[in-house]
Symmetry: none
Subunit: 213 residues, 2 copies
DNA sequence: CGCCGACTACCGGTAAACCGGTAGTCCCGT
DNA sequence: ACGGGACTACCGGTTTACCGGTAGTCGGCG
């Protein structure tokens, strides 16, 4: 019984390459490939995979948004997130959104099939690099609790898109919510962080690794 | 006679996946895989590939720097750059640094072997998405010779203060000039850099080291 | 159960960003 | 000498940021 996988990545070359890599694994079968969050969700209404493997950075839908939508469609469907960075806030947000595995791209190639098998079997998979970052956060204890004003997953999404230079209207369209709501999110973020300009928010996002400078 | 390729990407999963994808192509052979710019340069002192395929975003060495170093080692070695974004200044910079092909990751999977064959044969390869951006740039009067948009000293001052989160009015008071003049400076900066939001200007300033994130 | 935080959404308002011009001075390079 | 870029400054316009409220649902927590 092969593990049936749907792959998602907006970079089609990477998508084809990952598919090729998984094709070499005897017990894993790629039954669908999506190049956007919307396409992935549409695919899930027609197919019943054992697991979804998706890049967290896709235009039009962030990884957090995709994870929430997938959980709405099928809360029991395991999702393995593929990410380039190890920001702990983001990782925690993804797990809160229902993701069951988090794999950084800098991990070894053979970690991907292992992660897929683990998550498909109902386990939780966490890359070593991310585990270290999370442990550091826990070890610091007070750092994670007090020093960092905690933003909700939606707020992290909005902050990331703001740091990308997008307007509230654009962000609203991408997140499929009202511009007024995006406004409120931005204002709450500014209040929590005590930052009152897009420039400062952008630098904060860069410091937190939410976006590349 | 197979085309001998050295692959470089800091994301090892992607590296393995790309290698797997190329292994399916009969006339292309991956003879080396590097996970950092330094490892790639070291590899080039021992091996003689027909072409280097490298991601432009690697920690410890930017794509521009890697391209220059490779050109120092062997000016005739074709380099195909793999990138996620289509910023035209960056693309022009890469070509000025000696790169002979530029492929965006969102291109179709079969574009990679085609690009490799073209570049290995001495041709220049450019993804369609990037070609559009470059054509636009040429039409606007930007020639390949001046890839680096030069900012005047006053413009650099204004950019730094903008990245600090200050308003035009505040900047005007600090620089002892009219707010209208600050406006003009900001608009000229945005036109030159082709960036149209404070968030993007801020990230540019961080990249250029004008301010700390 | 009630409170609080997150998320959703709206109204109204002031300030600022953003874009299109025009225009003068200065200096530098062809 | 003439063009071009930098710096200075203004006019007018649309869009967005930013701040002050209010208000509903939902889930968690004491």
């Amino acid at each position: 019984m092969k593990i049936r996988v749907i792959l998602a990545d907006d970079h089609r070359i990477i998508l084809a390459a990952l598919s090729s890599l998984l094709a070499r694994t005897a017990d894993i079968e790629v039954i669908g490939e999506a190049t956007s969050g919307a396409e992935l969700l549409e695919m899930l209404t027609r197919m019943q995979p054992d697991i979804v493997v998706t890049d967290i950075a896709m235009p039009g839908m962030t990884g957090l948004e995709a994870a929430r939508r997938i959980a709405e469609i099928d809360p029991d469907l395991p999702v393995l997130a593929l990410s380039g960075h190890t920001d702990k806030h983001f990782v925690l947000g993804m797990f809160n959104a229902g993701v069951r595995g988090y794999l950084v791209k800098s991990a070894a190639g053979d970690e991907l099939p292992r992660a897929i098998r683990a998550v498909a079997a109902g386990d939780t998979y966490l890359s070593g690099e991310v585990a270290g970052a999370l442990a550091e956060g826990v070890r610091a204890g007070h750092t994670a609790e007090r020093a960092g004003p905690r933003l909700g997953p939606r707020e992290l999404q909005v902050l990331t898109l703001l740091a990308a230079g997008k307007s509230s209207k654009l962000i609203a369209m991408e997140l499929q919510i009202s511009p007024a709501t995006v406004e409120v999110h931005r204002r709450n973020i500014m209040r929590k962080l005590d930052l009152h300009s897009v420039a400062e928010l952008t630098k904060y996002a860069v410091r937190e690794g939410l976006t590349d400078p």
